[in-house]
């Protein structure tokens, strides 16, 4: 969608008979994040907010869909009853202990047990996601998750796992140089690289980073971004 009026989009959606929810990707941030350069393109996000798949929508595996929807909230937030307002507010503030406590007060008619179970699943999935990031050497991902979860899981036993992760990253001798490289890569990814000379300079920086931390997750990230930048030069 170029810079055309919303009215044109609405007409298009209407003419296609599309019934699904849609919205506008402000500043094309998401499309840039996923390096979307052509359509159709899709991304599947599970109930914990983790990206589980990206690709052509026609190649989406049903087993992935089942996995992504497993443990999801039975109803979207805007369909919850008024009785569940406190849970909803706690969830939106990412106060999971409070959300669990409030969900335990809800009756079955208000979806209490199902909501509580889904929240427990989301917490578990968030902790697992943090651990997975660490195991694959994505120290920045693990650190970011750890920092967030130490706040979000305040008062829950899982908070200790998030705190332990921060300590584990600090104690891991391999982590510091990788983290440094990952932060530099993240800056390059966020930069506005519309000029060819800026893209070339970014590629050069990424190649240096690759050499500094060979065989690491950061080196893989740098390689992927180099490919992305080279492709963008051809457009």
């Amino acid at each position: 969608m170029t810079d055309e009026a919303k009215g044109d989009t609405e007409k298009w959606v209407s003419s296609k008979g599309a019934k699904y929810a849609y919205g506008y990707d402000k500043g094309s941030k998401l499309a840039r994040y996923f390096n979307v350069s052509g359509i159709p393109a899709a991304v599947l996000v599970d109930a914990s907010g983790t990206v589980v798949w990206q690709g052509h929508p026609g190649s989406l595996d049903e087993s992935l869909l089942a996995k992504a929807t497993s443990g999801a909230l039975p109803k979207p937030l805007w369909e919850w009853t008024a009785a569940a307002k406190a849970v909803k507010n706690a969830l939106l503030k990412k106060q999971y202990k409070l959300a669990l406590e409030e969900s335990a007060k809800l009756t079955e008619a208000d979806g209490g047990p199902a909501i509580k179970s889904a929240i427990e699943g989301i917490v578990k999935s968030k902790v697992e996601g943090m651990k997975t990031a660490f195991e694959k050497g994505d120290f920045l991902g693990a650190e970011t998750a750890s920092n967030a979860l130490q706040k979000e899981l305040d008062g829950l036993p899982e908070q200790a796992e998030a705190a332990k992760m921060a300590a584990d990253i600090k104690a891991d001798a391999k982590a510091a140089p990788v983290l440094k490289a990952q932060r530099q890569i993240a800056k390059i990814r966020e930069a506005d690289l519309s000029k060819r000379k800026d893209i070339d300079a970014a590629i050069e920086d990424l190649q240096k980073l690759q050499k500094n931390v060979p065989g690491t997750f950061a080196a893989e990230e740098a390689a992927a971004l180099i490919l992305q930048l080279r492709a963008s030069k051809k457009k």
């Binding site: 989009t9 929810a21 506008y24 599947l44 087993s63 979207p76 937030l77």
Partner: protein, 64 residues
């Protein structure tokens, strides 16, 4: 690098039949960055945050 188009996203709550082929995952395991969607339509959601706790299929469309 920058995509000048304003993409709009279809948000389908993952559900029904799709062709079962091997998935080509490119960014599995990463957390979705903060999503800022404008003009959400055909949904009760006011912001992307309202999809919290739900599985979401984001499909990129472009109209030009």
């Amino acid at each position: 690098m920058s995509i000048r188009k304003t993409w709009f996203l279809a948000l389908a709550l993952a559900a029904s039949a799709f062709v079962a082929e091997p998935a080509r995952a490119q960014a599995p395991g990463s957390k979705l960055p903060q999503v800022e969607l404008e003009g959400l339509a055909q949904t009760g959601a006011k912001t992307y945050e309202d999809f919290l706790g739900r599985a979401v299929l984001l499909e990129f469309f472009a109209y030009w």
